[in-house]
């Protein structure tokens, strides 16, 4: 196996970083095994292996600017936080700058400025991406470009007295997706999926004649949006783009599960042709079934983020239901004892599911 073949041309920065971490873990484990006298490589083998890994690390560092040490990793985290703060502050500055001066400008000048700002900032993202492999500045500028596009459509609607429309969310979603897929920026993907989800829910809400900003009063629409995100996740998984599949799954499951909280409390919000009480009871049952199903699937597929979302949902849902059923009549000490008992029971069930899934594999 050559270094060239292992550093795949289609590799992303995240995959490169994973490979670097893998090499470090391998070296540490090999050193441990050698110290314990379990494995002892011949000097030639050891040299070949070391040279191979050194070359690989150098190549990955050159191509992707990956973190090669723990200190570099911590620095990267700091840079990411600084970029996020920078993006938020710069976006606020763009917003406030425009609001400070828009009344002094004629309408055509306002429209030209608003339209060109996201395009020009978008070009600066490309310039930054070409100069810096880690993409910290590109990420920062992409967030500012997104914020300026949000400002653009809001101000244009304000100038021309347009009523609020869900179409803006579609435009923002596409804009965020362009940057996310071009530069592999997870934050922009998250923004894109969120905007697209709101758009889907808003469109479905308005089709029923309901005022679309009241979309939370029709929670089942979010289940549809979440299901679409899960389909997109499967598509990305098949293409071996696990970094993006993970984000789609994370947002998708949240969108699918969140409505159960609302529907199990206020069944009247449901589209189902049932009375409020019947819908509530149905969603009580479905909440537990779907929550357990999500955890089961997550364990079998080894989806850590889905496992966390599912487990958190199930615990919160259970607490909510216990509160509904028991709080009014049960002594408080017994109520909390019950919660503790349920948590322990859940732990035991999850343990069994985990063991079962491992055996199945």
């Amino acid at each position: 196996m050559t270094t060239k073949s292992t550093a795949d041309a289609a590799m992303t920065r995240e995959q490169a970083q994973q490979r670097v971490d893998q090499v470090h873990a391998f070296r540490a484990e090999l050193a441990q095994l050698e110290a314990e006298g379990i494995v002892l490589l011949a000097p030639d083998q050891s040299r070949v292996l070391r040279t191979h890994h050194d070359d690989l690390l150098a190549q990955l560092a050159q191509r992707f600017d990956v973190d090669r040490t723990q200190a570099e990793k911590q620095m990267s985290l700091g840079m990411r936080i600084a970029s996020l703060f920078g993006a938020v502050a710069l976006s606020a500055a763009v917003f406030l700058f425009f609001y400070r001066f828009w009344g002094l400008l004629s309408v055509p000048v306002q429209v030209v400025l608003l339209t060109t700002a996201p395009i020009l900032i978008g070009i600066s993202v490309e310039v930054a991406a070409r100069r810096e492999k880690t993409l910290y500045f590109a990420w920062l500028l992409a967030l500012v470009a997104f914020a300026s596009f949000v400002l653009d459509l809001n101000i244009v609607a304000s100038i021309f007295n347009l009523p609020p429309s869900p179409g803006g969310f579609l435009a923002w979603a596409i804009f965020a997706f362009v940057f996310a897929y071009t530069y592999r920026l997870p934050t922009l993907l998250l923004l894109g999926i969120s905007c697209a989800g709101i758009w889907v829910a808003a469109i479905l809400t308005s089709l029923t004649g309901v005022y679309w900003p009241a979309l939370v009063m029709r929670p089942e629409n979010f289940i549809v949006a979440g299901a679409l995100a899960l389909v997109a996740s499967a598509f990305h998984s098949r293409r071996d783009e696990e970094d993006f599949a993970f984000i789609y799954r994370f947002v998708g499951w949240i969108a699918v599960l969140m409505p159960f909280f609302f529907l199990s409390e206020w069944g009247e919000m449901s589209y189902l042709p049932l009375s409020g009480i019947a819908a509530r009871r149905l969603y009580d049952v479905l909440g537990f079934v779907v929550g357990a199903g999500v955890i089961y699937v997550a364990i079998r597929r080894q989806w850590a983020e889905t496992m966390n979302v599912g487990a958190l949902f199930l615990v919160l849902f259970l607490c909510l239901k216990l509160y509904d059923w028991c709080w009014d009549w049960m002594p408080r000490y017994l109520f909390f004892l019950l919660i503790a008992g349920v948590a322990i029971g859940l732990l035991a069930v999850l343990q069994r599911m985990r063991t079962g899934a491992i055996r199945h594999r």
Partner: protein
């Protein structure tokens, strides 16, 4: 790089072009209505001190009774009113979260000199006497009543053309998109007895009033109208430095200081076409 730039530019340009196309369509043909309102109905939006743009918020008389906005009307715009309002469980059904607000079209009537029935509705049209210091509190209340918006919702329907046909005077009636909701009014009131207790007491005492459904206007779309740059100075000169500090939703505490001519285009979107100070009147 060119391909990426084209993608970004295309998204931005298409979104802006779509918005401008709606504006262009609204401006095509004769306007649907041209109405001259005053500060009572077009209040300066409180935007804070860090902005130079100006918008006016459309206000209507929210206290006026709307007996026409009844169960039949609610049903005609899509609310499910199949359950009798006096039936057991109706209060929970109609006041629950299942009945989300709906978008529809509203007709508003504007009466520059005030409505003839304002006295009966609790709205006082006479100007207060500032010299009457003994009744200062009452005078202040009358003053607020006197400057309530003279714009009232008078009709609702999902077909704006039918609304316009029913109210053809384009200088007196506005037709605009809006948001409405349904509410149930318990005829017996709740008092200190609770709903069921109040009903039982009302039945026993022979004062029972059946519950009824009525509509409520929540908002008009859009409710804020941008003031073009050239007209902003007139509004600012009329209201002065402190003009920005009153909440648009609170009743005007003084006589109106400017009037605004608003044109509703064929797409029922408003735009301000004229502003005039009336402080010298």
């Amino acid at each position: 790089m060119l391909k990426r730039f084209l993608w970004v530019a295309a998204v931005v340009l298409v979104a802006n072009a779509a918005a401008l196309a709606v504006v262009a369509r609204n401006g095509r043909g004769a306007p649907d209505a041209v109405v001259t309102l005053t500060e009572r109905e077009m209040r300066l939006t409180t935007l804070g001190t860090d902005t130079t743009g100006m918008t006016l918020t459309l206000q209507w008389d929210r206290d006026v009774l709307m007996p026409w906005f009844d169960r039949a009307k609610l049903q005609s715009i899509g609310f499910d009113c199949s359950m009798e309002p006096d039936a057991p469980g109706a209060f929970e059904h109609y006041s629950g979260p299942g009945l989300a607000p709906r978008t529809t079209y509203l007709a508003f009537e504007y009466a520059p000199a005030g409505f003839p029935d304002e006295g009966q509705q609790g709205t006082r049209v006479e100007e207060p006497q500032p010299a009457d210091r003994a009744n200062a509190g009452q005078a202040a209340q009358k003053k607020v009543g006197a400057h309530r918006p003279r714009l009232r919702p008078i009709d609702v329907g999902n077909d704006p053309q039918a609304l316009r046909a029913a109210h053809p005077d384009r200088h007196r009636y506005l037709v605009t998109a809006g948001v409405v909701r349904l509410r149930i009014v318990d005829g017996d009131g709740r008092g200190g007895l609770g709903r069921e207790g109040g009903r039982e007491w009302a039945i026993r005492s022979g004062t029972h009033q059946p519950a009824r459904l009525e509509g409520l206007v929540l908002d008009v779309l859009p409710d804020q109208v941008y003031v073009p740059q050239a007209m902003q100075r007139i509004v600012m000169a009329a209201v002065g430095e402190r003009g920005n500090r009153e909440m648009p939703s609170s009743p005007l505490s003084r006589p109106p200081r400017y009037e605004v001519t608003v044109e509703y285009g064929s797409g029922l979107l408003p735009r301000i076409v004229g502003v005039k100070a009336i402080g010298s009147r």
